[in-house]
């Protein structure tokens, strides 16, 4: 968006409706990226600003003051300080909640004193009026020296006036700094300004407060400020508190002059709802019920669309087979590329549904209540109240679950959540568990009525979840953080979610998934296709001959199936499977399972398909036949059965713990902005899988 000349920044406290104003201004012309070096959402876009044409706009995450207390807030403060210094931000549109002007205007006066031109959008005037609160916008404009414009983020009312004011103000002079510096503040700001030339004295003062971590300063400048701090015995935190008090003393009379004063309590509807939804016991019951519903919805609502997508790709494969002549190119297209694409796109319905529901919970204000209720339980494991949502979503698919951790602002808690979420048993594991349980676990009833198979199935979920919590606790003990864990969180009024915002959020998440997970799994599936389809010429020829010989003796299995089966054994994947056999032998696996472990490396759901090919079942969906063949399978050169109870349970444990999902790895890499964390994650999950599988094989 570098083509537009002007840059507008939207700022304000959290929960004032800033994002809905942003959505109104930009519509679909918005993108979500990251601020450099951190994973704080950077929402930006373009919109038409009268005569000025297209201008860029950036939606800064909500903030309470320019004295940051979390990593996210530090990023925003840096952006604002840099923006005025290098003129990368021309004007700040500041959104306030009409119901709580005094608190909202604290940050406003700070940003104004940085030297910004500003326009204030007064949102939620309608609810204020309903509460009997009258606000004199003109009076406020006069008192604070910048235009105050009434807007409605829900209906779009007043947005045009807001834009007109921005267009007008962009050519005006910024108002002078109104903050009365104390002698101490004045001295230090003057000396800071003597080494770094800033237009605004207030930036110099803020740098004296935040010099230690400010990216705007060079090391020598930091040392210089450190000496100034000593020289003037500058007690930063006390001076910050004094500054805020002085600002409130200035703001309060001005606000009271321009608004009818009424003692306000949170609106009674919200309090009534909270009485039930945040009840110490019933609130938890409701939440768990709601999460089960979300979980159920991800599964059942996504089922049909997923079938359509898969069906569509099967159709596409048939069309390609009809057009492209037989040969390696056709197989590359059908077995490699189309199958790879299908494997990625099939998850879109689940991702869209999850984010649809999560956005509603987030926008309605309920998510903050979840944090309130779950915080202490989750904190014992080093997680956050919001981690619950990610962990439950992980039961459908780890990818959207990991993407949903962005709402956790504490980095350590967020990272821990990301690291353990793939341990929650996702939907791709179900077919693997289903076939292995059918092989190993007798269809008996325990105590006459509980199916043993269902019990084992449930046990796997419990084992995955329990392990996730234990691993989280371990990370909690290992990871060090400077950031102190605080929970001082606003519980906003309940409100109807805005469908526009929900839609943009879902759209954005689906887009990220296709781009990030898509390209990784795409290339890996082509590579794996190559490995499974090609091998040394000699052994591939021998494989085909062997298939023909066997077919000549018995026509029980079709020639194509036999050929495919022997080809896979002779392929590079087959060779690799044999190579790793000594490694996996202690777990009770033979080289054929080794091939499946390798081919399902990028996506665990490939396992069943590979087994079907190796055992020449032909149709992937014919699980009864596959089950029989697997039960008969023996280790090569002996009569020993491969799929004993021990091996089957060991394999289930292996797939429960092992990463075996490159899309997840790609998303973790994106969300942690490093290769280190996905590497550690793959490693620890691999170790868990191997050790767990080995223990299971030894016990059973």
């Amino acid at each position: 968006m570098s083509f537009s000349k002007y840059q507008v920044a939207l700022s304000g406290n959290p929960n004032v409706g800033k994002s809905s104003v942003f959505n109104l201004l930009t519509g679909l012309h918005q993108t979500v990226g990251n601020f450099p070096g951190v994973t704080v959402d950077r929402k930006s876009g373009v919109f038409q600003l009268g005569q000025l044409g297209k201008v860029s706009i950036i939606d800064l995450p909500g903030l309470y003051s320019l004295f940051p207390s979390s990593e996210d807030e530090k990023v925003v403060v840096d952006v604002l300080m840099r923006g005025v210094n290098d003129s990368s931000i021309d004007i700040v549109g500041y959104i306030v909640d009409a119901n709580d002007l005094e608190r909202n205007l604290l940050l406003f006066t700070q940003i104004r004193d940085l030297g910004y031109k500003m326009v204030v959008g007064v949102n939620m005037l309608d609810t204020a009026l309903a509460n009997g609160l009258q606000i004199d916008l003109q009076g406020l404009s006069l008192s604070f020296g910048v235009p105050f414009v009434g807007i409605n983020g829900r209906t779009g009312e007043g947005i045009e006036e807001f834009k007109n004011s921005l267009e007008h103000e962009i050519f005006n002079q910024a108002t002078k700094c109104s903050y009365q510096f104390s002698d101490n503040e004045e001295q230090i700001a003057k000396d800071v300004n003597s080494i770094i030339q800033f237009d605004s004295q207030y930036i110099a003062l803020l740098l004296a407060h935040q010099y230690k971590r400010s990216p705007l300063l060079k090391d020598t400048q930091k040392e210089f400020i450190a000496t100034l701090i000593k020289k003037y015995s500058f007690n930063s935190i006390d001076i910050q508190l004094d500054e805020m008090m002085k600002r409130y003393q200035m703001i309060t009379p001005l606000v009271q002059k321009s608004s009818s004063h009424i003692p306000m309590e949170m609106d009674s509807l919200t309090r009534k709802i909270d009485k039930i939804l945040t009840h110490r016991i019933f609130g938890l019951v409701f939440f768990i019920g709601l999460m089960l519903l979300v979980f159920q919805a991800i599964f059942s609502w996504a089922e049909k669309p997923m079938e359509w997508i898969e069906g569509g790709f099967v159709g596409l494969n048939q069309i390609i087979s009809g057009i492209v002549p037989d040969g390696w190119f056709q197989r590359l297209l059908t077995d490699g590329i189309v199958s790879g694409l299908s494997g990625v796109l099939v998850f879109i319905p689940q991702i869209a549904i999850l984010f649809f529901l999560v956005s509603i919970l987030e926008e309605s204000g309920y998510m903050a209540r979840v944090v309130y209720m779950m915080d202490s339980f989750m904190r014992r494991f080093g997680l956050n109240g919001r981690s619950v949502v990610s962990l439950i979503s992980g039961g459908a698919c780890a990818i959207p679950a990991i993407m949903s951790t962005r709402t956790i602002s504490n980095w350590k808690e967020r990272l821990t959540t990301i690291m353990v979420t793939p341990l929650i048993s996702c939907s791709a594991r179900i077919p693997i568990f289903a076939i292995l349980i059918a092989i190993a676990i007798p269809a008996e009833k325990v105590g006459g009525w509980i199916s043993l198979q269902a019990l084992v199935f449930m046990g796997l979920y419990v084992l995955g979840t329990g392990t996730a919590l234990i691993v989280a606790w371990v990370f909690h003990k290992i990871l060090k953080t400077e950031e102190r864990s605080f929970l001082v969180m606003e519980l906003p009024r309940y409100q109807m979610p805005q469908w526009r915002g929900v839609f943009y959020n879902v759209w954005e998440k689906v887009k990220v998934f296709i781009i990030e997970a898509g390209r990784v799994i795409f290339f890996i599936s082509i590579l794996l296709w190559f490995m499974a389809s090609y091998g040394p010429k000699k052994s591939m020829d021998a494989a085909r001959k062997k298939a023909q010989q066997e077919y000549a003796v018995s026509q029980e299995i079709s020639l194509t199936q036999l050929t495919k089966s022997y080809e896979l054994e002779a392929s590079y994947a087959g060779i690799a499977g044999r190579m790793i056999e000594p490694l996996i032998r202690p777990l009770g696996y033979d080289w054929k399972i080794g091939i499946a472990l390798l081919t399902s490396f990028a996506a665990r759901e490939i396992f069943v398909g590979t087994m079907a090919t190796i055992y020449a079942v032909g149709d992937d969906n014919n699980t009864t036949l596959l089950k029989e063949r697997l039960q008969e399978a023996t280790f090569s050169g002996s009569n020993k059965k491969v799929f004993t109870v021990g091996t089957s349970i060991s394999l289930m444990i292996f797939y429960l713990f092992a990463m075996q999902c490159m899309s997840t790895v790609a998303v973790v890499r994106r969300e942690t902005k490093s290769l280190k964390w996905p590497a550690i994650q793959m490693l620890y999950m691999g170790v868990l899988a191997y050790v767990g599988g080995w223990i299971a094989a030894s016990i059973f």
Partner: protein, 75 residues
Amino acid sequence: MQTLDQIKTGYRARVVSYKEPIIASRLMAMGIIPGTELMVLRKSLMSSTYFIQFPKLALALRRDEAALIVIESEI
């Protein structure tokens, strides 16, 4: 010196001061300055998290943080 963690659910109080500047900075930025009235609306299971109603906003606070807020009970 009474702190916020010592009062019961349903009781009102007034903020007097803060025991730690960091919590002071955070709360003051949210408009909660000495003199602000409050009421403990409810506590979570095990009383580890507090749901506090201030005149213009509601906050969730941990017990550790509540212990840093000096208050005087309303008579």
